[in-house]
Amino acid sequence: MTSLLGTSIAAMPAALRKLDPRHLVHTPVIFVVWVCAALTTVLSITDGSLFAWSVTVWLWLTIVFANIAEAIAEGRGKAQAQSLRRTRTTATARRLIGGADGAEEVVAAADLRPGDVVVVEAGEVIPGDGDVIDGVATVDESAVTGESAPVVREAGGDRCAVTGGTSVLSDRILVEITSRPGETFIDRMISLVEGAARQKTPNEIALGVLLVVLTLVFLLAVGTIPLLTRIAGHPPTVITLVALLVCLIPTTIGALLSAIGIAGMDRLVQHNVLAMSGRAVEAAGDVSTLLLDKTGTITLGNRQAARIVVVGGGDSAQTHALARLSSLADLTPEGRSVVTLVDGTLQDTADLPDGAREVPFTAQTRMSGVDLADGTRVRKGASSAVAKWLRETGGALPDSVLAQCDSISSDGGTPLVVAVQPPRGCASAIGVIHLKDVVKPGMTERFNQLRMMGIRTVMITGDNPLTAKAIAAEAGVDDFLAEATPEDKMRLIRQEQQGGRMVAMTGDGTNDAPALAQADVGVAMNTGTSAAKEAGNMVDLDSDPTKLIDIVGIGKQLLITRGALTTFSIANDLAKYFAVIPAMFAPLYPGLSRLNVMQLHSPQSAILSAVIFNALIIIALIPLSLKGVRYRPAGVEALLRRNLFIFGLGGVIAPFIGIKAIDLIVQLLPGM
C-alpha cells in the first residue's frame, strides 16, 4: 500500500498533465467525467455549498485517479527505456569504405545505412543491428537481455545476428548493417516499452465501443429524469444528476483500460519478451495450437547414451571399450555421454592409446571414430552411414542389427551403430548405442494444463516418425510432426489456421522466418538470425523456447483482467443506484426511502459517498490492473465460475459495503 502511495505521488505530475481534455477525448468515459466536473465546478461557484464543492472535488479526483493509473503503467516502461537509451548515445562506427576490403573511416552510428560494413573489435560497442559476415566474437548482450553471460556470434549460420548497443568482448568481427538509423532493435524496444508505439488492440477497441454505448444509455437514463420527475413536481438538482451519471457510467474500467493494456506489454517485458504489438499479446491469449520444437523445448538439448547393446556375439566389455574409444574424440554432448556411460561400468578407462588417430565427424561420412596404431578402425554413426561404410569395406549390416535399431527408435531413442574393422579384416557391427532424448522435467504437467485450457500442443522434430511418436507419448503432447522440413511446418500452420485455430511457434533460423511470419504468434529467439527476428511478432531475449507457454498465459491474463474489471465495473452500478435513487427521489416520494437499504445518513451524504467510492475504487484497483488477475490454468468452466463469483458477485456486494463505510465518515462533515 505504501509503495502504491509512493508511485502514485511520483506519477502525479504526469497525471495532472493528462487533465487536458484533448488527451481525455481518447477515453470517452473519462471525457464525460471531465465535462461533468467542469459543469459542477461552475455550479459550485454559484451554489457554494460544501456538498456541491465536495462532489466537484471528487469528480476531479476521479479523473486524476484515472490518469494516475495510466501514468504509473507508462512510467514503468519509461524507466526501462531510459536505460536502453543510454546504450546508443555515444556510439561511433568504424566503417569500411567500399565493402569488406576497404579502408576504415570513423562515422557516427546514426549515419550508418543498410549494407554498410563496419568493423568491431574487443571493447567496442556494435554500432547498429546487423549480421556478422566475417569472424567470431564473444558479445556482451546484457544491455538488451539483462543476461550477463557473454554469447558467441559468428559469421554464417544461425548465430550471425548482432544487436546495436551490445559490446564485443573478444576478437574482431565484420558486421553488415541491416537496419536504418532510428529503426534499430533498441529503438523499437524503447518505443515499445515507453508505450509510444502502442495501438489499441481489437478487443480493447470492441470493449471501448461497449463502454461508449453504455455511457450513452446512462446519459439517456439520467438525462430523462428531469422530464420524468415533472409529473411529481421538483426535479432533482443538476449536481445530483451529474453525480448519478458519473457513478453509473463505467468509469472504473474506462479509467483502467489503457493501464491494463500497457501493463500486459510490461509483463511480457519483465519476462524478457518483446512484443512488437499489443495485438500479438492478445493473440497469444487466443492461441489454440502451440508448435513446439522438440529439442531444447520439450527435451533437454542433448541426447544421452542410455545403454550399449552388444550385437554379433561379441564380448560385452570389449564392445563397451571400443564404443568408448570411438567417442573419445567426439566432443559433442552425445559423444561425451557415451564416455560417461562406459566409465560408469568399466574399470579400465584409459585415454586414447599412442599412435591412435582421431577421425572427426564430417558431413560426407556422417561418422566419427578412431584409427588405432595397429590398423584397426572403429567407427560410430547412424545405421545408414555405418551400413554404407560396411558395404564399402566388404561387410554388411545384419538384419538383427537393423531390428535392434528400429526397436530403439520406436522407444523414442536414437540408435548409433558401432563397427570395427580389424587390420586387413572385414568390418562388422559390434554394438548399438541407445541414445535417449530426455524429456525436461515437468513438461507433462504443463501439457496437461495446456490441454485443460483448450490448447493443443504439436511437437516438431526432425526425427523419424517412430522416434517422434515415442517421445510425443512420453512428453504427453497431443500430436507431432516428424521429419519436419520448414515447408511441412508452414503447411501445418496453414492447415491449423484454415480450421480456425490460432497458432503460436518459436523459431530462430532463417528458414523459420516464413513460418514465424505466418503464425499468429511467432516468437523469435534473440540468438536467431535477423530474418527470424524480423518475421516474428515477438522476440524472446532469453532465447528460451519453453517461454512460449508463459507468453500464452500472459496473453490470457491480459484478457481476463480486462473482462474481470469490466464485469466488476458494471456490477458496481446496482449498489450505486441503491445509494443515489432513494436520496434523489425520497423528497418526491417518501416511500422510496425504503430503498435506502444501506441506511445512509442523508441524501447528500449518500450521493457524496457514492461519488467518493466511485473515485476510490479506481485507485484500489490500480495494483490489480497492473499486476493482472491471478491466472491459474484451469478448465474454462471453472475459470469462468471463479471469476464470475469474484468479480461479478463481488462487484455487486463490494460497493454496498464501501459506500456504507464512506458514509459513516462523510456524515461527520458539517451540513451533511
Partner: protein, 547 residues
C-alpha cells in the same frame, strides 16, 4: 376449485403442453427453413411473383426486401383503413388519419397497439384482408430475421443470409397458416364465435340498449395469439366472452402465444448442430418467464385484502391467478392481448408487466423476435464475461469483435432509448400530459407503459391513457416503427457479419455457451441491462406507487 388450485392446474397443463409440443414443433421449424424443396403452393406463389427461390441475398438485399415489403404493407393498410367507410360491410367503422397511421404501423410491426375500439374502428373487410394478413406476415417477418441470425452463426465465410421472400412465404404457408387453422378450430370448439351476422341489439338488465357485433372472430383469434400479435377483434380483447369465453379457451390462447417462441430455441439448437445451445436459451427464457409470473401472481394475490385478492379489472371467469398468467404471458411474448385490465393491477403487478416488456421481449418474446433478441443478449453476455476465460469472446466459433459488439449493443439499446425519450418528450408536451388519467406515479406508469409497449412491439395497453390524439398517435407510431425496424436492420447486419466470418473450429478454450452457468449469465445480463436503464423510471412509477 379455488382460484389458486385452478391457477396452478392451468400453469401445470400449460407447462406440460409447451414442453411436449416444443420438441416436434422446433424440429419442424428447423426443417421448414432448411428443406431444399418448395411446396406446390409455394412454387405457384414464386411463379406469380417472379421470385427465384434458389437465389440467396446478402444482408443488405435482405434488409432492403424486408423494408420494402413492410413499407408497402403500411401503405396498403393505411389506404384500406382510410378507405373503409367506402368499402363493403363498413358498418360505420372509421378512424382519423393519425389513428389510421398508428394502426397501419402497429399491425405491420407486429405490435397491434389498438388506438381504436376493435368493433368501431375496423370493419370486417379491414379486419380480414388488412389486419389479419398482417397478423400472419408480420409474425413471419420476425421468424425470418431470427433465421438469418442462426444462419449467420452456422455459415462460414458466406456472403448471403437467406432469401427474405422464401423465408416469408415458408413462414406463412408452412408454419402460421396450418397452426392457426388448427388453433381456430380448437377455439371454435371451445366456444369462440365465427360468423358474419349482423349486429344484435339487446336490452340490458338496466334497461339500456346494447349493440352486440358478430364477426370472423375464431380465425382471427388464433393468429392473434399464435403470431404474438395481440390485436383484438373486440375492444375488450381476450376479456370479451366472444373472443375468450372460458378457462379452457383462456388456456389455449396462452398456449398459442407461447408455443412458437418457446419452440424456436429447439430450432436454434438443431440448426447449429448442438441441442444444448438451444436448451441454454430455452432455460434463459423460461427462467425469466417463471420468475416474472411468480412476481405478478404474488403481487396480484396479495394486492387486496379478502380471499380473492385484487379483482378490480379481472374477469370472474378467469380469476386472479389465470389473469396474472395471461398478463405475464402476453407481456413477455410481445403479444399484447389482454384478458384483464393491467391498469387496475397492483403497482408491482402492473410494474411486472411493464418490466416484461422493458427486458426487450425475450422471455420468450415474440415469434422470431424473442429468439433474435435472446441471441443478441447472448452475444452481450459472451462479450462481457467471455473475456474472463482469457480468450477473445466467441459465440459458436464466431468472434465477437468490434463490428459485432457495436451492432449487438446498439440493437439492445434502441428500444430503451425510444421508451425514455418518448416518455420524456410526452411529459414535456402539455397535450400529451393531459392524456394521462391518473395522478402521481401511476400516471407516469401509464405513459411509460404505453411507450414501453410500443417501442418493444408488444401492443398491450395500460388503459387510463387517452392515446387517441394526434401527438401520441404519431409518437407511438414512430416508437413502434423505430423499435421494430432499427433493431432488425442492425441484427441483419450482425447476421451478415457473422456469416462472413469463418467459423472457428476449436472452441474448447472459449467460453461454454451451453451450460446452466451461461443461462444464469444471460439472465444476469438481461436483468442488469434492463435494471440499469429503467431503474430511475421504474422508481418514479411503479416503485414509488408501491412503497
Amino acid at each position: 376449485m379455488s382460484d389458486a388450485s385452478a391457477g396452478l392446474l392451468t400453469i401445470g397443463l400449460l407447462a406440460a403442453a409447451v414442453a411436449v409440443v416444443h420438441v416436434p414443433l422446433g424440429n419442424y421449424l428447423a426443417w421448414v427453413f432448411t428443406s431444399e424443396r418448395d411446396l406446390r403452393v409455394e412454387r405457384a406463389i414464386y411463379r406469380v411473383t417472379g421470385i427465384n427461390s434458389r437465389s440467396e441475398q446478402s444482408w443488405r438485399t435482405y434488409a432492403v426486401a424486408l423494408g420494402a415489403f413492410s413499407a408497402v404493407s403500411v401503405l396498403w393498410l393505411l389506404a384500406l383503413v382510410v378507405a373503409q367507410p367506402h368499402l363493403p360491410l363498413a358498418r360505420g367503422a372509421e378512424q382519423s388519419l393519425t389513428t389510421a397511421v398508428n394502426t397501419a404501423v402497429s399491425f405491420v410491426t407486429n405490435t397491434n397497439w389498438q388506438d381504436y375500439a376493435g368493433e368501431d374502428g375496423a370493419s370486417p373487410v379491414v379486419q380480414t384482408i388488412g389486419l389479419t394478413i398482417q397478423n400472419f406476415v408480420s409474425a413471419a417477418v420476425g421468424l425470418a430475421v431470427a433465421l438469418t441470425v442462426i444462419r449467420g452463426l452456422t455459415r462460414s465465410g458466406a456472403r448471403t443470409i437467406g432469401n427474405f421472400w422464401v423465408d416469408l412465404t415458408r413462414g406463412v404457408v408452412r408454419v402460421l397458416l396450418p397452426l392457426a387453422f388448427v388453433g381456430a378450430l380448437v377455439l371454435l370448439a371451445g366456444g369462440v364465435i365465427e360468423n358474419l351476422n349482423a349486429a344484435h341489439t339487446i336490452t340490458t338488465i338496466a334497461g339500456r340498449h346494447q349493440t352486440i357485433q358478430g364477426g370472423l372472430v375464431a380465425s382471427q383469434e388464433a393468429i392473434k395469439e399464435l403470431g404474438t400479435n395481440g390485436g383484438g377483434y373486440f375492444n375488450a380483447n381476450s376479456a370479451h366472452p366472444f373472443e375468450n369465453p372460458n378457462a379452457v379457451t383462456n388456456l389455449i390462447e396462452i398456449f398459442l402465444m407461447l408455443v412458437i417462441p418457446f419452440s424456436l430455441p429447439r430450432t436454434y439448437g438443431r440448426l447449429v448442430g448442438d441441442r444444448r445451445q438451444g436448451y441454454a436459451v430455452l432455460g434463459f427464457m423460461a427462467t425469466l418467464w417463471t420468475g416474472m409470473l411468480a412476481v405478478i401472481t404474488w403481487a396480484q394475490v396479495h394486492a387486496a385484502s379478502g380471499p380473492l385478492g385484487a379483482m378490480e379489472g379481472v374477469e370472474v371467469r378467469f380469476g386472479v391467478w389465470n389473469s396474472a398468467l395471461f398478463a405475464n404471458s402476453t407481456t413477455s411474448t410481445s403479444t399484447g392481448a389482454v384478458d384483464s385490465l393491467h391498469e387496475s393491477y397492483s403497482a408491482i403487478g402492473g410494474g411486472g408487466a411493464l418490466v416484461n416488456m422493458a427486458v426487450g421481449e425475450v422471455s420468450p418474446g415474440g415469434v422470431g423476435s424473442g429468439l433474435y433478441g435472446a441471441l443478441v443478449l447472448a452475444i452481450l453476455a459472451v462479450f462481457i464475461a467471455g473475456l474472463m476465460v482469457g480468450r477473445t469472446p466467441q459465440l459458436l466459433g464466431k468472434t465477437i469483435g468490434r463490428k459485432e459488439i457495436t451492432l449487438a449493443a446498439l440493437a439492445t439499446v434502441v428500444s430503451p432509448a425510444l421508451v425514455l425519450i418518448g416518455t420524456g418528450t410526452a411529459l414535456a408536451v402539455p397535450v400529451a400530459r393531459g392524456a394521462i388519467l391518473a395522478h402521481g406515479p401511476h400516471g407516469l406508469t401509464e405513459l411509460l407503459y404505453a411507450f414501453t409497449s410500443a417501442a418493444n412491439n408488444n401492443g398491450s395497453a395500460f388503459a387510463g391513457l387517452s392515446a387517441t390524439q394526434p401527438f401520441l398517435n404519431l409518437t407511438l407510431a414512430a416508437a413502434m416503427a423505430l423499435g421494430r425496424f432499427v433493431p432488425i436492420a442492425l441484427i441483419l447486419a450482425l447476421a451478415g457479419s457473422l456469416a462472413a466470418q469463418r467459423r472457428q473450429g476449436s472452441t474448447e478454450g472459449s467460453m461454454p455457451t451451453h451450460t446452466p452457468l451461461f443461462t444464469g449469465l444471460m439472465v444476469g445480463v438481461a436483468v442488469l441491462v434492463t435494471g440499469l436503464t429503467f431503474l430511475p423510471a421504474l422508481a418514479l412509477g411503479p416503485l414509488a406507487e408501491a412503497l
